[in-house]
């Protein structure tokens, strides 16, 4: 009898507790991150140039740098980040459930993800597009020749639908093989299960370098989709969205203004009002996003500007050697254009 009463009481308590909706959403993400002393950042499980641990276990990459920059802005330390490796399938659930504070993992900004997933994209840190990689020995030079081919893709990406659209609109046939994880997808492509592997072109370049003899594989010239990649946060905390968005914008504006990791200290004495605002010598933009006024100075000092990060991770100084192309600043003919800090 006593036992039963106890069970009943527990059940009642459970219902009452459950029925209080959204009790979790009370404190802001910034407060949570600060009191935890660490930023939880969702990254790729291992994609050279974007998010991958090096041989010493340090995370490196363009997407990783963005999280380090957020950490620098908040903590004046680029290393207060816990990197959470996520597969394509896991990433959105991890963000929605609060397992991570920000997702920075070559994720395409699409309308459905931005609206019905309960998420907000904070900007675009890489303009990409989907392409195809094939074995050179096949002698294929254009994606238009791929009719009848078997194509390997990874589940949980925008890739599956793009592929269906492209082949349908070109009235071509194809045979699809979908794998849950990247290593199996690539292993299957390598073992000859598929004629082609398709994903965002930047990723094709990164993966090509891991395939033994990279020269045996070619990336075809056709780009079949727009893949604007950027950081994502949960909806409902505008301050946190602003922090992530303006961290990226600060990195882009710094490059535009010629402020980089090596000259940022001397730039503190600049008379250029834009630079003075960026580095917190004028106005109070830090306070506007709940941070100290030297937030952007810390980002540039500890992580670098966008150009520094690009060159180091995917550009000229990296094994990938990807040209700036669409990712050049707007004044250099590219698409990267950040709203001003004003």
């Amino acid at each position: 009898m006593k036992q039963l009463v106890r069970v009943a009481a527990a059940l009642t308590a459970g219902v009452l507790f459950c029925a209080t909706p959204a009790a979790a959403q009370q404190s802001s993400v910034l407060e949570t991150v600060k009191s935890r002393g660490q930023l939880f950042c969702g990254v790729n499980t291992g994609l050279a140039g974007f998010g991958a641990p090096d041989d010493k276990g340090n995370w490196k990459g363009l997407d990783v740098d963005l999280c380090r920059a957020i950490s620098a802005a908040i903590f004046k330390d680029p290393n207060k980040v816990k990197f959470v490796p996520l597969t394509a399938k896991e990433r959105f659930t991890a963000l929605q459930s609060g397992e991570i504070d920000v997702l920075s993992r070559n994720t395409t900004w699409t309308m459905s993800r931005d609206t019905s997933f309960g998420l907000s994209f904070a900007g675009i840190n890489y303009y990409d597009g989907q392409g195809f990689m094939v074995k050179r020995s096949l002698g294929v030079v254009s994606a238009k020749e791929l009719s009848g081919a078997s194509i390997c893709v990874q589940a949980g990406t925008t890739t599956e639908k793009n592929l269906a659209d492209y082949f349908r609109s070109n009235k071509m046939e194809y045979k699809l093989v979908v794998f849950e994880k990247l290593p199996e997808t690539i292993a299957a492509y390598n073992a000859g299960r598929c004629d082609s592997f398709t994903t965002d072109v930047s990723q094709l370049y990164a993966i090509r370098l891991t395939l033994g003899k990279a020269d045996d594989h070619v990336v075809l010239p056709e780009i079949i989709s727009k893949e604007p990649l950027g950081p994502v946060v949960r909806q409902g905390d505008p301050q946190w969205l602003n922090i992530v968005r303006w961290t990226l914008n600060a990195m882009l504006n710094a490059e535009e203004l010629g402020v980089n990791q090596s000259n940022v200290d001397s730039m503190l004495n600049s008379d250029n009002p834009s630079i003075r605002r960026l580095l917190g010598k004028e106005d109070t933009f830090g306070a506007a996003i709940g941070l100290d006024n030297d937030w952007a100075f810390q980002i540039i000092k500890l992580v670098g500007n966008y150009g520094d990060s690009f060159a180091r991770n995917v550009g000229a100084q990296s094994p990938l050697g990807i040209a700036r192309g669409q990712n050049a600043l707007w004044k250099d003919g590219g698409l990267q254009y950040a709203p001003p800090i004003r």
Binding site: L4, L11, S116, G148, A149, E184, R193, Q235
Partner: protein, 400 residues
């Protein structure tokens, strides 16, 4: 509570109200009602809370997504499917693919398992040892690892599509699968199908007659050969008479793959082989235990009656062993069905891969999708259990 007590109290006025509270029967019912009410409330609260939370987070909910266009392709489908069809259609494609592996896997695992189980008890030392090694190795490997080993093993050994292995009947084998000619029915094939039905009815009638004769006279009629003759012979005759109303669409070499024909994907083959091997090791042990569970006296008595070894096995040992085998066998069937969801790792488009994978990711309706997927597995498991329980009852000792 008070109401219940009062009504009863009106009938039997001699008893006090508190008596009912101490009546174990009344109390039992009462507490069950309370518990059910509480649990319903709890479930209701949980559902309401989830819906509220999803809404507060700006995440879409509801089942309307099932009618939207899927927009992605699926590598294997037992029903017509195109990327312009709905998510609901994709669900059925995935479900049928799961059922296909589950059913075929169960058939293979059972066949192999019974053979290995019998082999473990063989008088032949070598056969018994080999069977033991088979069981010990296979049941101690994680199934996912086995799937990877089989899948990539298969891919690595099979030739590329340009160097396909030619098999009889215009079939080909390569790293993209096993290609067999597709068969199309021409008018007149209906007659062949009808004749098959007629043949089947004849055979069943013959069995009944043979059985009756056996009980009457004790004389055995040959069963297998005449049945086979009729089942194959009559339709064959009809087929020839109708002028062979079938046409074949053999696979032909295209630029990348063979086109035409029907392809059995390497993912399906690997998944079947992996699951069947793994489960067969457990089934073998169950069969061995079942056979050993039949008292030796039974065997000796059968031998004393002059039955041949094969007859002893089929007529005396197996029917009794089955009673021991079926319940644990059911567990293995359930395991195999559930393990088939490992398909997603090697690219086979089962329910988990198609629905709880791609559909979930495109719609982001995790709660709904996972709920549906779990219900499907629950229903499949319950159906399997129901069937096996029925089968078990049929096999149970009929005591006279």
């Amino acid at each position: 509570m008070a109401k219940l007590a009062r009504r009863d109290g009106a009938v039997k006025q001699t008893r006090q109200l508190t008596d009912y509270f101490y009546d174990p029967k009344v109390r039992g019912i009462l507490f069950q009602v309370i518990v059910v009410a509480l649990i319903s409330w709890l479930v209701y609260g949980a559902v309401l809370n989830t819906v509220n939370n999803l809404e507060a987070q700006g995440i879409a909910s509801g089942f309307g997504f099932l009618d939207r266009t899927a927009g992605f392709d699926i590598s294997q489908s037992l029903i017509p499917y195109e990327n312009t069809m709905t998510y609901a259609r994709a669900f059925w494609v995935g479900l049928l693919n799961t059922l296909l592996v589950a059913v075929l896997g169960i058939v293979f695992a059972t066949t192999v398992g019974f053979m290995i189980g019998a082999a473990r008890l063989s008088q032949n030392w070598l056969i018994a040892q080999l069977a033991t090694a088979y069981v010990e190795i296979l049941r101690n490997l994680p199934p996912l690892l086995m799937l990877f080993a089989v899948y990539f093993g298969v891919l690595k050994t099979l030739p590329s599509p340009r160097e396909s292995l030619a098999l009889p009947f215009s079939s080909y084998l390569n790293s993209r699968g096993l290609y067999v000619p597709a068969v199309h029915w021409e008018p007149g094939f209906g007659v062949v199908v009808a004749s098959l039905f007629v043949a089947a009815i004849c055979v069943i009638a013959y069995w009944a007659w043979a059985r009756w004769r056996h009980t009457q006279t004790g004389r055995q009629m040959p069963i297998l050969l005449p049945s086979l003759g009729v089942i194959v012979g009559i339709p064959l005759l009809a087929f020839l008479l109708m002028g062979m109303p079938l046409s074949f669409d053999p696979p032909v070499q295209g630029r990348f793959n063979l086109t035409g024909g029907i392809a059995l994907l390497p993912e399906l083959i690997a998944l079947l082989v992996g699951l069947a091997l793994y489960t067969s090791a457990f089934i073998a042990e169950i069969v061995r235990a079942g056979i050993m569970g039949v008292p030796t006296g039974q065997r000796e008595a059968a031998a004393a009656l002059g039955l041949k070894p094969g007859q002893i096995l089929w007529l005396v040992v197996f029917p009794q062993a089955m009673r021991i085998i079926i319940p644990p066998l059911t567990n293995q069937y359930l395991n195999l069905t559930k393990n088939s969801s490992l398909a997603v790792a090697i690219g086979y488009p089962d329910l988990v891969s198609v629905f709880a994978g791609t559909v979930l990711n495109q719609t982001n309706q995790a709660v709904e999708v996972i709920l549906i997927t779990m219900s499907v597995y629950l229903v499949l498991s319950l159906l399997t259990s129901l069937f096996m329980n029925w089968f078990n009852q049929r096999m149970a000792l009929v005591e006279r």
